[in-house]
């Protein structure tokens, strides 16, 4: 079996993304060759509209079913993916992902609500995890996102997250947010 075949065999059984250097070590070939083979294979699969695709994700490579077949797969796949996260869980996840390492208190402060429950849910889903202890009073636990988080979002690395700056509300919204807090705004009141 050639290198391509062996890579197919390994990624066929792999249960999470496998990094190219690890594959190179198992196969005793240069990392560059592994990367070349994988890149070519991924392109082949894409070009012939195969039933599965090869993606570089969470710092490694993994095979996935082709999303085009999703409608047909419901009956055959054991795990239809994590249940949908609530809005609160998504917002908490966003704060942890962008502010990590971050303590529960800091997350709660940013969101304006206590986030213990949602953070526990996210931890249970394996999307966030304890990553350290903050120095200082109370030594709060610090949280960060996990590799599974990257995989579930289809990202290769954390820096692939959409830049937060792009999501700051546009000028007109900022303007609307500020308006009630400006002294001029209340001058035109005639009631009371």
């Amino acid at each position: 079996m050639n290198t391509r075949g062996l890579l197919e065999a390994i990624l066929f059984v792999a249960e999470e993304p496998v990094a190219a250097p690890e594959l190179a070590q198992v196969l005793e070939v240069p990392v560059a060759q592994v990367v070349d083979e994988l890149t070519a294979w991924a392109r082949d699969l894409e070009q012939r509209h195969a039933g599965f695709v090869l993606r570089e994700i969470a710092g490694g490579w993994r095979l996935y079913s082709n999303p085009g077949a999703a409608a047909y797969l419901e009956r055959f796949a054991a795990s239809p993916g994590a249940s949908r996260l609530s809005q609160a869980a998504l917002e908490t996840l966003a704060v942890v992902a962008y502010r990590q390492p971050v303590s529960r208190g800091q997350v709660s402060e940013i969101r304006g609500v206590d986030c213990e429950r949602t953070m526990r849910t996210l931890e249970r889903y394996g999307l966030i995890a304890e990553v350290g202890i903050a120095p200082g009073p109370g030594s709060p636990i610090l949280y960060g996102s996990t590799e599974l988080f990257l995989e579930k979002l289809g990202l290769n690395r954390l820096s692939d997250l959409p830049p937060l700056a792009e999501h700051v509300p546009p000028a007109d919204v900022v303007e609307a947010l500020e308006r009630p807090f400006r002294p001029e705004a209340s001058s035109s009141e005639s009631t009371n």
Binding site: V13, E15, V53, R62, L63, Y64, S65, P67, A70, S79, P80, G81, A82, R84, L85, Q87, A88, L90, E91, L93, A94, V95, A97, Y98, I110, R111, G112, V113, D114, E116, R117, T118, R120, T121, E123, R124, E130, K152, L153, G154, L155, P162, L164, H167, V168, P169, V173, A176, L177, E178, R179, P180, F181, P183, A185, S186, S187, S188, E189, T191
Partner: protein, 243 residues
Amino acid sequence: MSYEVKTEVFEGPLDLLLTLITQHKVTVTDLSLTDLVSEYVAYLDRIAHLDMEITSEFLLIAATLIQLKARFLLPDDEPIDIDEELALMEERDRLLARLLACATFKDVAAVLGHRLGANQQFLPRTLGLDMDFPDTLPEVHIRVDARGLARLADLAFAPPEIDPDLDHLALDLPSVPDAIDDLRTRMAGMMRSEFDRMISHCDTTLEVAAYFLALLELARWGIVGVNQDHRDAPIMLTYEGTP
């Protein structure tokens, strides 16, 4: 006894403020601080039973809003305490910064949610090595230590659907509507009083805050008249009767 743990629509005071403001951006041209404060307080009235942490956060922000409103309603020729003014503006800027951060994370959360959904269409193979693969037991790596395992057990035994904090909920939290009723009844009986006397029975700051919010409402409705000679003077209340 029944009580609600989650607010009807809003998740916390920032979420509420954000919604009140952005809703108005669509419907009305300008939202004044006065309207914002009354809508905020009106909402506060409806969520009488919340856990302590959320309630205090709600009240804290209400206090800031009311302070701001009071300041803006001052006539221009009124002397201003610079330190107080600065502190208040700092508080306002902090609130605005929090609102902005909250709006930003809400926006990006939607993107993450979308990505999560789209990626669920990609199914990985989860079978691993064929079960009939050679008998050799591969060396397994448990990537947590004993403490980590205990943490996982904790999480598994307390599923997120069940709120273990219910037991510690203080159920007799201060209710603004109750405070309004109480204040109104007692004021009707004595016609004139000081605010400090009306709250002499309160044990906690939260209760005082509830009474203060109640007082603002009663004043707004014209049921109670409020007068304070100077900043340190007692707040005098007069019963004006049903409007």
